[in-house]
């Protein structure tokens, strides 16, 4: 029969439409308030309407999510060196960065005039950054990590989008909040490396 295909298709549209409300009727307001229901709404069981009520609701991003890089520094309550940057200004990230948007000036000791393993200046042009994550991947000191904060719109790119040292710096505790598993893995790896080094020194 001519038109059967259209009618069959309309049936599917109606099913999608109805599915949006079926779960609402079954679960009531809990569907939107209960913590554990979100996975069902935004996962493989999802039926019908699939949208998230941004900005009231946001999907928490996974640990590996990459946006703009940031520089890790010691927490404020660090016993020896609070706020000490981990970056040694080795320059690897600026070399590996594909669009070349990282600029680093190495510190020099004012007394001896010799280079100090610490950045004096560190800039990232975030308009140019392509969020590839290479800087974090290849930094040998875990000193640069990919941030998860994607809400960075601003009114003027010319003044706001070259991030300097101050703007890039975030404490280690922040990294542990946004990527707990990875931070832990990295800590274990670092400690193993230290131990191996100490072992070697002893011999």
């Amino acid at each position: 029969m001519y038109g059967l295909g259209i009618i069959k298709g309309l049936g599917i549209t109606i099913k999608h439409f109805a599915n949006t409300y079926v779960e609402d009727f079954k679960q009531g307001i809990k569907r939107y308030t209960a913590e554990d229901r979100f996975t069902a709404r935004q996962g493989l069981e999802a039926q019908g309407l699939f949208t998230v009520q941004y900005p009231e609701e946001k999907i928490a991003v996974p640990e590996r999510f990459r946006y703009i890089p940031f520089l890790v520094v010691n927490d404020d309550d660090h016993p020896d060196a609070p706020g000490q940057p981990w970056c040694t200004s080795c320059g690897i990230c600026s070399k590996v960065c594909p669009p070349q948007c990282i600029w680093i000036v190495r510190s020099t000791d004012p007394e001896t005039g010799r280079p100090k393993p610490e950045p004096q200046e560190f800039y990232i042009d975030i308009d140019i950054c392509m969020n590839c994550g290479y800087c974090a991947e290849f930094c040998p000191f875990d000193a640069i990590k990919m941030d998860h904060d994607y809400e960075i719109s601003s009114y003027d790119r010319t003044s706001a989008h070259i991030y300097d040292l101050q703007k890039l710096t975030k404490p280690l505790s922040y990294w542990r909040t946004i990527a707990p598993t990875r931070a832990e893995e990295e800590r274990t790896a670092r400690e193993a490396k230290e131990a191996a080094k100490a072992e070697k020194a002893k011999k």
Binding site: T39, Q42, L44, I59, A60, V61, P98, I104, M146
Partner: protein
């Protein structure tokens, strides 16, 4: 496929050709190079022989290299046999830089048409006998040929990255603050943009206003005229900034010329300034819907040149993500094809829903939904994460927690088969879709091969040519799947073949999952894992069957840290060679649907 090793076959052909044309062919014996060098005078004759006597009927790629130290340009052709499969026959022609002229091969393979125009535009090689040798990607007023090694861009800093100013002196500034014109352009001396009228434009319209009629009506007799209409570049039906200049007789299309380049950013020049590894995230931005497939084609090309092995788990992960990408692409295409037909966004959103779930997996796996940057030389960047989701940190964040392996299994065994069946029920019998697509935009197999069309579009024209089978890569020869093929050559078949391919991809994925479970915890990235990749001197053309067609990378290494030449054979670009043929004689509304069924993406087309 024949029992003899495919390599010997191509070598044999090269030898026979040399015996046949002893004066005009010699082997390319530079270290790391292969193929034969043909003298320009007999290029057309040799090409004809390659096509007719040896059945290399598909000229896929035409690359061009500027050997500035040796003072010649080289054009490199790769031809394939769609019936027998096997590797490419690779032949080359050279011309001195000062002369820069070669005979055009458009008469032998129409697929050379757009590629020769590109070579003229970007390298300044003149092809005698080309019917329409105009700039393709840059604008008509552009000065110079940007892929020549002595051409420098407006923001030129150094020939090769990394740039010295980044460390340790560091000079933070915006390139645009150094611009003499205040805009990102470079004009010839004495040129002012005011009052300039583009020559190319009028040439375009002149070439289109021929007195051909589609409907057979004598235009003179009824005192009518043909009308040139620009569809695009800003138009939702062109899927990006793409323009079709169509000549209409009433509503019937008599001529059609695609006008491209609006998204051109000279990806290849960027690639030649860049390091090998640095190009990986750039390949994401070619066909931005299929970043994983682009990564794979590029990674395989460089691995071949390096002689780098890939561990089994990495291959499994690669096939997993690449086949999921194919599903993503085809879902996306079907949704937007229906948009083009006027079913505004309902089917598209049903298709996108499934895509969202797949990109959720990509995001947890690689850190990005679309710009995955997942593959490395020798493997992949990460193993599967234990779960999909992340901690709630920001105000309003809602956490999800889904076990990754279970997610993949549910997706492949349950959710996606159901979704594809539903889409099939929803659309395939729909009378509007059928009447708009059946018999519309016929592309006969011979024309498809001649125009260099590849991928699902070629297979919907009755040519079962799939690189995963004809020149297998990764672990595809161990996998059991059918090459989808349809024989009606019309838009409806081009829609159906996408459904078929999704089903075949699901079949492949089902075979991948046990392997993923068995190799858990194994190595996924072999080799040095360094950022300094050393590639031995030589050339290689690597290719893969991407969701849109054959994506090829022709890379020449001079042994340094940056590729000497980095050329991309973009399926989207070469597939539109057939567009005019498919649209001629049809109504203007059909061109929108035909273009939709060709599946182009401008990030890749314009590069």
């Amino acid at each position: 496929m024949s029992k003899t090793s495919p390599d010997t076959t191509t070598n044999d052909v090269a030898e026979i050709l040399q015996q046949k044309f002893p004066d005009s062919i010699h082997p390319d014996d530079r270290e790391g190079y292969s193929g034969i060098v043909v003298s320009p005078d007999s290029l057309v004759e040799v090409a004809q022989s390659i096509r007719d006597d040896f059945r290399y009927n598909l000229l896929t790629s035409l690359s061009y290299v500027d050997y500035i130290d040796e003072d010649f340009f080289e054009v490199v052709y790769h031809a394939y046999d769609t019936v027998k499969g096997g590797p490419a026959l690779n032949f080359k022609a050279r011309t001195p830089r000062s002369q820069a002229t070669l005979p055009s091969l458009t008469g032998v393979w129409p697929s050379a048409n757009l590629q020769e125009r590109e070579a003229w535009d970007l390298m300044g090689i003149h092809f005698t006998g080309h019917p329409n040798l105009k700039r393709l990607l840059t604008w008509e007023g552009f000065e110079g040929h940007p892929l020549r090694k002595d051409w420098k861009e407006p923001f030129y800093e150094e020939d090769k990255k990394p740039f010295k100013s980044r460390w340790p002196e560091g000079r933070p500034d915006r390139a645009e603050s150094r611009l003499p014109y205040g805009m990102n352009v470079q004009y010839p001396p004495g040129f002012t943009p005011d009052g300039w009228s583009p020559e190319g434009e009028s040439a375009l319209y002149d070439s289109l206003s021929t007195p051909m009629t589609g409907s057979g009506v004598d235009v003179q007799a009824i005192k009518t005229d043909q009308l040139v209409v620009n569809m695009g570049p800003q138009h939702p039906s062109t899927h990006g900034v793409f323009r079709m200049a169509v000549t209409l007789d009433g509503e019937t299309i008599t001529r059609l010329e695609p006008v491209v380049g609006y998204l051109h950013r000279n990806h290849e020049k960027i690639g030649e300034r860049n390091t090998y590894l640095g190009n990986m995230p750039y390949t994401d931005r070619l066909d931005y819907i299929c970043s994983m497939s682009n990564n794979l084609a590029y990674a395989m090309t460089i691995e071949k040149m390096m002689g780098q092995e890939v561990p089994e788990r990495a291959e499994l992960l690669r096939v997993l993500v690449v086949e999921l990408t194919r599903i993503v692409n085809h879902f996306w295409l079907i949704g937007f094809l229906l948009n083009d037909l006027g079913a505004f966004f309902t089917p598209a959103l049903y298709a996108i829903l499934e895509r969202e779930l797949i990109v959720d997996l990509f995001e947890a796996l690689t850190g990005s939904r679309m710009m995955c940057n997942y593959m490395r030389f020798g493997g992949v960047a990460y193993d599967l994460p234990p779960y999909i989701g992340g901690p709630a940190v920001k105000p309003g964040d809602k956490a999800r927690h889904m076990d990754t392996m279970k997610f993949i299994k549910d997706l492949v065994y349950e959710r996606l088969p159901r979704a594809i069946d539903q889409l099939d029920n929803f659309l395939t019998q729909n009378e509007v879709l059928v009447s708009r697509c059946k018999g519309v935009g016929i592309l006969p197999p011979e024309a498809a091969v001649a125009c260099g069309v590849t991928g699902p579009v070629l297979r919907a024209s009755g040519v079962p040519y799939d690189i995963r089978r004809s020149d297998p890569y990764s672990i595809y020869n161990e996998l059991d799947f059918d090459v989808a093929v349809r024989y009606n050559c019309d838009t409806y078949d081009r829609y159906l073949i996408r459904l078929d391919e999704i089903r075949q991809s699901l079949r492949i994925l089902e075979q991948i999952i046990p392997g993923l479970e068995a190799t858990e915890g194994q190595e996924y990235w072999a080799g040095k894992r360094g950022y300094n990749v050393r590639v031995p001197t030589g050339e290689h053309y690597g290719h893969a069957d991407n969701p849109k067609g054959e994506l090829g990378f022709y890379v020449v290494s001079d042994g340094t840290a940056n590729p000497y030449r980095y050329h991309i054979r973009a399926p989207s670009l070469i597939n539109i060679t057939a567009l005019e043929e498919m649209c001629r004689g049809l109504k203007v509304a059909d061109s929108v649907v035909i273009l939709g069924s060709l599946d182009i993406v401008l990030g890749e087309l314009d590069r």
